[in-house]
C-alpha cells in the first residue's frame, strides 16, 4: 500500500513492536512527526486502548525534543478517515511565530436549546469501559469475525468523506 507512514517515508524517531514515530519527508511543516500504530488503521476506534495511551505518552516524550528546534510550541492534530490508504496518527507539529500554519477555526454560535439537545444525545451513551488486554484481543477477534454490520465498520463508513 502506498502509505507514507507504513513505508517510513522520512526518518524513524521511535519504533517498537506496536507503535512508531516518523519524522515525515512530506509533512505539514518541517519537524512534523507522525505517531501511529504500526498496524495500518484508518480511525481511532481501530486502535486498542493501551496502544492509544502509548501514542499519547510518546507524543509527550517527543514534543520535549522540539526545544532543539528553538520552539516549545506545538500542535497535535489527529484526523480520522475511512479512506483505505489513510493511516490514523497523532500528528505532532512544532510551531513558531509567523510560520504560516493556521489551525484556527471560527467559533459558531449555537442556540442554547440545540446545545442542550446535543448534550443529551452524547450524554445518553455510556462511556465504554477501558479495555483490558484480554478484552482488547477478544474485540479484535470479534471485529474480524463479524466484519459486516459491526460498529467499527459503521464508524468507518460514517467517515467516508471528511476530513
Amino acid at each position: 500500500m502506498d502509505c507514507a507512514i507504513c513505508n517510513k517515508q522520512g526518518r524513524v524517531v521511535y519504533e517498537d513492536a506496536e507503535i512508531m514515530a516518523i519524522l515525515l519527508s512530506k509533512g505539514i511543516k518541517e519537524g512534523h512527526i507522525a505517531i501511529s500504530s504500526k498496524k495500518h488503521v484508518n480511525i481511532i476506534s481501530q486502535v486498542g486502548d493501551e496502544t492509544i495511551a502509548k501514542m499519547y505518552i510518546l507524543a509527550k516524550k517527543i514534543a520535549g525534543a522540539y526545544a532543539a528546534l528553538n520552539t516549545s510550541s506545538f500542535n497535535i492534530v489527529a484526523n480520522n478517515r475511512s479512506d483505505e490508504e489513510f493511516h490514523f496518527a497523532l500528528n505532532l507539529i512544532p510551531r513558531s511565530e509567523g510560520d504560516n500554519i493556521n489551525f484556527q477555526w471560527n467559533p459558531k454560535q449555537i442556540p442554547p436549546e440545540q446545545l442542550g439537545q446535543i448534550f443529551d444525545m452524547i450524554k445518553a451513551i455510556p462511556i465504554n469501559p477501558v479495555e483490558s488486554k484480554k478484552t482488547e484481543a477478544k474485540q479484535a477477534k470479534k471485529v474480524e469475525i463479524d466484519a459486516d454490520g459491526q460498529e467499527d465498520n459503521y464508524m468507518l463508513n460514517q467517515f467516508r468523506r471528511v476530513p
Binding site: 518541517e30 499519547y56 509527550k60 484526523n79 510560520d99 489551525f103 448534550f119 445518553a124
Partner: protein
Amino acid sequence: MDNCPFCKIISGEIPAKKLYEDDSCVAILDIYPANPGHVLLLSKTHHASYLDILDPDLVNIGVISKKIGENVIRALKPDGLSIFVADGASAGQRAPHFILHIIPRIENDAVPLDSKKQAVQVDSIFEKLKPSLKDIFPDMDYDNLEKTDSVKEELKVEPKQEDKIEHKQEIKPVQEPAKQKKEETDDSITLDNIKDLFG
C-alpha cells in the same frame, strides 16, 4: 489555579455542560464550538501544557479521548472527527489550561485541520533533534537506522523481506534507562510499563 476559568468549570463554580468526569479529566461541551458537538477534554489538575500532565493522567486522558470521540460519532453521526491540541502561544493556545479538542467534522465545514502536506527538509531537522532523541530513547540506534526515504527513493528498490526482519531485531526494547529515571520521578511511565495499567 485561582484565576483559571477552566478550573472554575471543573470545581463547579462556573456552570458547564459536563459530559464526563473522573480523577484525571473532565469533558464539557464547548459553547462556542468549531462544529456542534465539539467537546473539550480538560485535565482535572491545572496544567497549562501537555508536557506537564503526569503520565498516568495522560494515559487516561488518551483513552478517554478515544471513548468520547466514539460516543460523539455514535450520537451525532458526523462525517468525520478530529482531535486537536494547541500547546504554546505560537501554536494558538489561548486558554491557560490544557485542553484536548474533540471535534465532529462536517463536509466542507471550513475547520482548517486538514493542512496540505508538502516536501519538507528532514535530514537537517533530524540532526538537530538527534541529541535530544538519543537522551529520550537511549536504545534507539539512530546512526544505524536506514535512511528510509532518500535511499529507497534513489535506488527504487523494495527492501527484501529478510532485510526488514533483521532491521526489526536490531531495535532493542526501551526499558532499562527509563527504569532508572523512575526513581527520580515517581509518576513516570515507560512505553513498556503502560501495559501494567490495563489489567
